[in-house]
Symmetry: C2
DNA sequence: CCATTACGCTACGGGTCGTAGCGAAAGCTC
DNA sequence: GAGCTTTCGCTACGACCCGTAGCGTAATGG
């Protein structure tokens, strides 16, 4: 996270319980108040810590919410469901379930918006949230290539570009469906999406 | 926009020039300051109007930015380029060019984030921004069906679902590429994306 | 026991918010 | 032009949140 305890060994250690309490309080405040009305003073009160303690660990609202939201994505997994289509449907449904939670809705888009003017924040989001999702895409793709469902790409640069493309299409579609269109990415939608992704528009009814 | 002059005909009319100046000042402030540091007092000063004038027309920052950003999407068009693939590439490049502008980056995601807790704001975004994009998708699809490039869907409900799906995939992918991955949706990317969208993952190298 | 760091608490200047109140300006109707 | 109505610019205000400084205390390790 944000912990920096590399060389310093002396002195009173930071309370790990306080970290957990603050992040939980942040998610609670996101649900009740939303991003714009969330204040660090309120979060500190909810967590039972002093405001100064909070400022010693996080630079501001942006960094705090990134860490609080990032924990929601810990549960993402990619079990082998036997086929590429089933793998995609499974992971997309998991992703959609996380995005449907109010603390994710309120917080994620807000910090992404802020990250357009803050490179350090963008990198923090990439490392703690996006990177994990990306790994799943690459793993699912490699699995499908072993099954023979997807052609293998010899050129590494080309492989990276294709991986990035797939990731933006999958994540972008789910995010847009959930947050912009405001409709649930339920099983029916995910089936239709997977069909289009695999077979293309022309093949889908 | 927000003008309400249905029954009231008497008294001093609202200055249309002030509206334009305020919206332009809002975009200017979005570029220079970004969403979070943009204040209504500053916008009023930039526009050369009193802060109270601004509050008479817009309920708050959210509504103001929605209207300011919405004007950016006025230029979206869908000229007939002869094939579905060419039509998609053309409109996606236009969309990407708008999203690449700093006033769109900073503002759009922020108001979408706020809209997760404000239904009126969500509807405002839908009506003034999303609706226009959706129209292009439907028009391009109808055109492709006339050309025989896409199968026609007799069931109206199914047609709506498919239209919504295509829209979320296209818009979501471009938005995610631009704002989350932070990479440009340039011609090369758009070509690859169009290929995947039309032919599916299996057919793309 | 002592150095070091974290903690809780209080207090503060600075900034923004959104509104109220005022006189002046700009239209329309007669 | 007289009179009515609404908008406009301006000033001022209490309320809130920010981020930090200072202090005494608590919890470690040497």
């Amino acid at each position: 996270m944000q912990s920096r305890t590399p060389a310093s060994r002396t002195g009173r250690p930071r309370s790990a319980a306080a970290d957990a309490a603050i992040l939980a309080a942040t998610r609670e405040a996101l649900v009740e108040l939303g991003w714009s009305k969330l204040t660090l003073g309120d979060v500190a009160t909810r967590a039972g810590v002093a405001k100064t303690t909070l400022y010693r660990r996080w630079a501001g609202k942006n960094e705090l919410v990134v860490d609080a939201v990032a924990e929601l994505f810990d549960e993402l997994e990619l079990p082998d469901r036997g086929s590429l289509a089933a793998d995609i449907e499974g992971v997309v449904l998991q992703f959609a379930a996380i995005l449907a939670r109010p603390e994710a809705k309120s917080g994620l888009m807000a910090v992404v918006a802020e990250s357009t003017r803050d490179d350090a924040l963008r990198e923090r989001i990439r490392a703690s949230i996006v990177e994990r999702q990306m790994r799943l895409v690459l793993e699912g793709r490699a699995r499908a290539q072993r099954r023979g469902e997807l052609p293998s790409v010899p050129d590494p640069a080309e492989a990276t570009r294709t991986g990035d493309l797939i990731f933006d299409v999958v994540a972008g579609a789910v995010v847009h469906r959930t947050l912009v269109s405001g409709k649930p990415a339920d099983e029916e939608w995910v089936r239709s999406f997977t069909r289009v992704l695999l077979l293309g528009l022309a093949s889908s009814a």
